[in-house]
């Protein structure tokens, strides 16, 4: 593509068109983004994930139990999961897909992904398959114009006083964006002399009817109308400045991989509880740590224990559908960081390289963690994805926690790469602004199988073996609730969700104790089908009882779930088991 064949005024006309195209493109990107978020929601609701291990005999989407002879489900061709009747959607008269696969298909069509895939078959060499010609051209304009067009005296570029901290690197406004500002100012300037692309004048009445929108979204439906100005014209840097910065931008990303350690100071209910709240607030203030408003996407990992080298080999294949680390500029330079919790010492941290400008990074990196096999049982693998924004600023993009105590390292099936949904950090979910919930809930649990209860009581119901689940909340550690003296009048609400949608709720009476002393909140759930226990999810929420008709205060909640936890109770029935559950703002808790 040779732009030099164009004369200056022609170039400006084309530039105008490209600017309009860019506006449409950002509208489109936003739409796709929303669509993918919705897809994420659908996936979250009906996904085979860690937290919700499901047995072979339940529908992979709704977790409803499937029968042996009737309503036994069928395998979805898209995902190979067993799906009940209700979770199928017909694509054609003969073919159906499960709800998740169907949603994927829809997104693939509606986002234009199909087109990119088709084109990649023909032009496989293309580095960035998403980039349109218009986009590329706009960039080349930016290069070209530095030679041929003199900007109309841009205002001096001033750096805010706060940005002096890390020198020039810190002020890395993306190159393209600043240039855009410059160009908008340019084109608006040129607009005065040159007429638009074609001379067809639009009906003014029609125009006003079309332009009801917010300024940033305002778009012309006519190709002949004046260019609008979606970006602010201030802060247009001088050209030499821009080049300097464009260069350092690249180098910076490279260097970030080696230097970033700051993001370890992350807020939220984590495995280390020491004063996390205060540190995090300082960090956020300094802009070192940013957590993203939305977490999307998945990460593909494979875990293999290499017994010859005595190390855990974690292969990070890649991620897909990540949120933009920089939502505004649609930028994402992701990398993956791995800890084997509870060890968060910096020298035991593993990291991949940083991939630039992608929300679907491919890493294909194998990270090795030296550890003896028996020790792994007490560890939880934490793989977190970060956007490397600047040298010091990292943006959290999501994480997955994989408890290793039940991991079958000898089993081949567990060694193959698996996609995991990325989750937000439990402690920083929105919903309870201003308060940090952390701490750990200490509980005991035991299951009393039907045989220990009066077996003769219900002979006609022998096919469903009902047992009893007892939960004892004994205390809480490291509870940091602002403005609190230390004495709590606490009570606990518990909600046991059974596979199939049945819910059992219990609530204890308030107990006035010091928050660090022992409690004795007991919840008893009877009528729990023994077979369903592994698929259960227990939500506990700790409340502070208000004395004078004020609303009770939620102090956060915790979850007990996962087949492995329940399995212990089933294996040794009638025995108390201790669990320590990380607490979080319990937005998911149902009001009872």
């Amino acid at each position: 593509m040779d732009l030099s064949v164009l004369e200056v005024l022609e170039r400006e006309k084309v530039l105008e068109v490209l600017q309009r195209d860019k506006i449409l493109r950002s509208l489109e990107e936003e739409r796709i983004r929303k669509m993918k978020l919705e897809l994420q929601e659908i996936r979250r609701k009906g996904a085979k994930s860690f937290s919700r291990q499901y047995s072979e005999r339940t529908c992979a989407r709704c977790q409803r139990p499937l029968g042996k002879f009737w309503n036994c489900g069928a395998v979805c061709h898209g995902c190979s999961h067993r799906i009940c009747n209700k979770c199928r959607i017909n694509v054609t008269a003969q073919e159906w897909k499960c709800t998740v696969c169907h949603a994927y298909r829809e997104v693939k069509i509606k986002s234009g992904e199909w087109f990119l895939e088709e084109r990649a078959k023909k032009f496989s060499a293309d580095a960035d398959r998403h980039e349109t010609t218009g986009e590329k051209l706009l960039k080349s304009y930016q290069r070209l114009s530095t030679i041929s067009i003199v900007p109309p005296t841009p205002p001096p570029f001033t750096e805010g006083p706060s940005s002096g901290r890390s020198g020039g690197l810190h002020s890395s406004r993306p190159f393209t964006k600043s240039m855009e500002n410059l160009f908008v100012s340019l084109t608006t300037h040129i607009k005065k002399i040159s007429k638009s692309q074609d001379d067809v004048t639009a009906d003014p009445g029609l125009l006003t009817a079309d332009y009801g929108g917010i300024p940033s979204k305002e778009r012309r439906s006519q190709s002949d109308t004046a260019i609008n100005r979606p970006f602010s014209m201030t802060k247009a840097p001088s050209l030499p400045d821009l080049f300097k910065r464009a260069k350092s931008d690249n180098e910076e990303v490279q260097r970030m991989a080696e230097f970033c350690t700051d993001e370890d100071i992350s807020p939220g209910a984590d495995y280390h509880q020491e004063k996390r709240g205060s540190i995090s607030s300082v960090c956020t203030e300094l802009g070192i740590f940013d957590h993203n408003s939305s977490v999307t996407g998945e990460i593909e990992l494979a875990l293999v224990y290499n017994s010859t080298a005595s190390c855990l080999e974690i292969t990070v294949n890649g991620c897909k559908n990540l949120a933009y680390g920089d939502e505004k500029r649609k930028k994402c330079h992701p990398y993956v960081k791995i800890y084997l919790l509870p060890d968060k010492s910096p020298h035991r941290k593993l990291k991949t390289t940083v991939k630039k400008n992608t929300t679907d990074p491919v890493f294909n990196e194998t990270l090795r963690y030296n550890i003896e096999l028996p020790l792994l049982a007490s560890r939880t693998l934490q793989a977190s994805v970060w956007h490397s924004a600047t040298l010091r600023k990292k943006v959290f993009l999501g994480e997955v926690l994989i408890p290793l105590h039940e991991w079958k390292f000898k089993d081949n099936s567990t060694q193959s790469p698996t996609w995991y949904l990325l989750c937000p950090k439990p402690g920083i979910t929105e919903g309870y602004p201003g308060e940090q919930y952390n701490g750990t809930l200490l509980i005991k649990a035991k299951f009393t199988p039907p045989s220990q209860l009066s077996t003769v009581a219900n002979p006609q119901r022998e096919e469903v073996c009902m047992g009893q689940l007892s939960i004892l909340v004994t205390g809480v550690t490291n509870l940091t609730v602002s403005k609190y003296s230390g004495t709590l009048n606490s009570f606990v609400k518990g909600c046991l969700s059974l596979p199939g949608g049945r819910e059992l709720t219990q609530r204890t009476l308030p107990q006035r104790r010091k928050s660090n002393s022992q409690w004795n909140h007991q919840l008893v759930f009877s009528e729990v089908p023994e077979a369903n226990l592994p698929g259960c999810c227990l939500d506990l929420e700790l409340w502070d009882h208000a004395s004078f008709s004020l609303a009770h205060r939620s102090l956060g909640g915790a979850k007990l779930e996962g087949a492995s936890s329940w399995q212990q109770l089933l294996q040794t029935p009638n025995t108390w088991y201790d669990f320590t559950l990380p607490m979080q703002a319990s937005a998911s808790m149902k009001k009872t």
Binding site: M1, D2, L3, V5, L6, E10, K13, V14, V17, R20, D21, L24, L27, E28, E30, R31, K34, K68, C72, G73, A74, V75, G78, V91, T92, A93, E95, R105, K108, I109, K110, G112, W114, F115, E117, E118, R119, K121, K122, F123, T132, T133, G134, L137, Q197, D198, D199, V200, A202, L206, A209, D210, Y211, G212, G213, K217, R219, S221, Q222, S223
Partner: protein, 224 residues
């Protein structure tokens, strides 16, 4: 099947479909697209500089396999206009790769513009997103009957040879303009579905038609 929607400034649509008009200079691409988006005619001839585009929102009603009408979708059309002149060639063909469907136009009053259709076809083959993209052949300026140089039969034969639909339109009167665009849109919409459903049913030997018989007879049988 389609009808126009008025507001266009929000992201409230289901599909963004990018079509592109190509053909010799002066055949009426710009005028055609203007007629389609705004239903107006401009007799002035202003050379398109390199590239341009227009937009329109339409409602698309899907047809089910049994012929009944199905769901409706909002489609945002981005209609790329290109300059036919040789000096813009490298620029315009670069835009071919981003379009999902093509309006290949010639002037019914110009034999030369018709002869050049073949060249445009090979340009498409080289630059479009795939080897056989969706194309509609458009013979424009049908209203100038007395100046006609290309006969319908001739053009139809060429279209058949390529296996693409053919329309004789007039940007001046608006005749067949909508129909040509709609036909192309419909082809693209169908193509999308095919593309996403294909991998599951793609036979390794490439014989697409035999796959239905090849399906396992006991599909419904429960595996457990």
């Amino acid at each position: 099947m389609f009808c126009a929607v008025s507001t266009m400034t929000d992201g409230d649509y289901d599909y963004l479909i990018k079509l592109l008009a190509l053909g010799d200079s002066g055949v009426g691409k710009t005028t055609f697209l203007y007629r389609y988006t705004d239903n107006k005619f401009n007799p002035k001839f202003i050379t398109t500089v390199g590239i341009d585009f227009r937009e329109k929102r339409v409602v698309y009603t899907a047809t089910n396999s049994n012929g009944t009408t199905g769901k409706t979708f909002k489609v945002h059309l981005q209609l790329w206009d290109t300059a036919g002149q040789e000096r813009f060639r490298s620029l315009t063909t670069a835009f071919f790769r981003d379009a999902m469907g093509f309006l290949l136009m010639f002037d019914l009053t110009s034999q030369q513009s018709f002869l050049n259709v073949r060249n445009w076809m090979s340009q498409l083959q080289a630059n479009a997103y795939c080897e056989n993209p969706d194309i509609v052949l458009v013979g424009n300026k049908a209203d100038l009957a007395d100046q006609r140089e290309v006969q319908e039969k001739q053009a139809k034969e060429l279209a058949d040879k390529y296996g693409i639909p053919y329309f004789e339109t007039s940007a001046a009167t608006g005749s067949e303009v909508d129909k040509a665009v709609i036909t192309l849109l419909d082809l693209v919409m169908k193509r999308m579905e095919q593309c996403v459903d294909k991998p599951a049913q793609e036979a390794p030997n490439g014989e697409g038609t035999s796959k239905l018989e090849a399906a396992p007879p006991n599909e419904k049988k429960c595996a457990c």
